[in-house]
């Protein structure tokens, strides 16, 4: 009797577990993290009951939780990061975050109706790589997320679209603008761009 009860309880709990988290079974933590974020963003984008501005706000909140913008800024600036003072670093990170968000959300908006396939997940120490594919009617676009574990959370620190790393792609631009107008000149140009994109 107790054995039977135990079995029933066990199978019940298994069923409940599989209902409440259908993907937990064979998925790594970083993969879950990426899927959760993308699904959340895509559902938000498709939700017609909220305004475009509200959508952006919800998405930006989610991205701020899932992306490591300080790490991204360091990588995008490379050696120039070390030369910047704390205030410049702070300003840069904020502006960079806004520019990245604009680009990322803009592209997701263009591909809202497409399917996302989650292909592979690799983990090595504190780093993980998640390979996904946007499947459109006429093309497949490979997107790779690179994550790093910080304080127990998996955070995205780079996105590679068609083998193009978002972060390294900014390096030349920032490098050349710093050379031309100095660090504060770069910050001013970035501020103008952010204002232009969010009137």
């Amino acid at each position: 009797m107790t054995l039977l009860l135990k079995n029933i309880l066990l199978s019940l709990s298994l069923i409940i577990a599989s209902i409440s988290s259908p993907l937990a079974a064979n998925e790594s933590a970083p993969m879950e993290q990426v899927r959760g974020t993308i699904d959340h963003i895509l559902t938000t984008l498709k939700d017609d009951s909220i305004s475009k501005q509200e959508k952006r706000k919800v998405i930006i909140d989610r991205i701020s939780q899932s992306f490591d913008f300080t790490g991204m800024s360091q990588r995008a600036l490379a050696t120039n990061w070390r030369k910047a003072n704390p205030q410049q670093k702070k300003d840069f990170t904020e502006l960079f975050q806004q520019l990245i968000q604009n680009t990322y959300i803009g592209r997701l908006e263009a591909y809202t109706d497409e399917k996302v396939r989650y292909l592979k997940s690799k983990t090595k120490g504190r780093k993980a790589i998640i390979k996904t594919m946007i499947v459109t009617k006429s093309a497949d676009i490979p997107i790779k997320y690179k994550l790093i574990q910080k304080n127990g959370n998996w955070l995205v620190y780079d996105v590679e679209i068609e083998k193009i790393s978002l972060i390294s792609n900014y390096r030349s631009t920032y490098q050349s603008l710093i050379k031309k107008n100095g660090f504060d000149g770069l910050l001013a140009t970035m501020r103008d761009k952010v204002n232009e994109l969010n009137p």
Binding site: D158, S168, L177
Partner: protein, 237 residues
């Protein structure tokens, strides 16, 4: 135009032989997790490249894009069918370059895709192979050169064509000879066909160029680095 191809082709044939030795070093691929490497491309012709970039921008914005937008009135399935048809027709480029790189299973995949899509996909208008999870192997002559250790050289913006590199522009010439469309005669018809293909592609694209132009602080640099990274990634694949 054709003359240039004749001059450049022997050059292309020479490259693989010259650079076989370099191949050895290149074969050890970098650890995927090691992301400190920076891919950049030399750009000694930047002022000229920027001028051609500006020329192409005007061409795109005032000629290509308006036509492509008008073409969007043609139902999308028809435009995708055209894209599939062209892609199927240009199989030899991918097939030959897979072979040249010793990627025999990729060559087999391309051959299989060609057979499936030509027969079941009605002369390549549809891509049933993709539904069977048999995906296109994107190989071209620029990548073959890269495979044999030829570096990208320097960045080039070619009028009417767009971003390229010294290596890839030589690759383009070789691609031309592998492209069945090059059999079109007179040569004018080849260029008309290419123009049509590009307009169709732009009509299917989701305004990628516009978003780059709007969002980036320096679109020229952004596209240059994107091109270099994309091509490097393709070679390492």
């Amino acid at each position: 135009m054709k003359k240039i191809y004749h001059i450049l082709l022997p050059l292309f044939m020479l490259f693989p032989a010259l650079s076989l030795a370099a191949n050895m070093e290149q074969s050890i691929l970098d650890d995927e997790f090691d992301d400190e490497e920076i891919i950049e491309i030399a750009d000694p012709l930047e002022p000229i490249n920027r001028a051609f970039f500006g020329f192409n921008d005007i061409l795109y914005s005032y000629a290509l894009k308006p036509v492509a937008k008008a073409v969007r009135y043609i139902p999308e399935p028809a435009r995708i069918a055209l894209k599939n048809f062209v892609s199927n027709l240009t199989t030899p480029i991918r097939f030959i370059n897979s072979l040249l790189q010793g990627k025999f299973s990729d060559a087999g995949t391309e051959g299989g895709r060609f057979a499936i899509n030509s027969i079941i996909g009605i002369l390549g208008l549809f891509d049933p192979a993709r539904e069977m999870d048999i995906y296109k192997k994107d190989e071209d002559s620029g990548q073959t050169l890269g495979y044999y250790g030829v570096g990208q050289g320097f960045y080039l913006v070619i009028p009417f064509i767009g971003p390229s590199s010294l290596r890839d522009s030589i690759g383009l010439v070789a691609n031309y000879y592998m492209d069945p469309l090059s059999l079109l005669s007179p040569e004018r018809d080849y260029y008309i066909a290419q123009t049509g293909i590009i307009i169709n592609e732009v009509s299917l694209d989701k305004d990628t160029y516009e978003s780059i132009k709007k969002e980036q602080l320096d679109p020229y640099l952004f596209i240059r680095d994107a091109y270099a990274q994309h091509r490097q990634g393709k070679v390492e694949e």
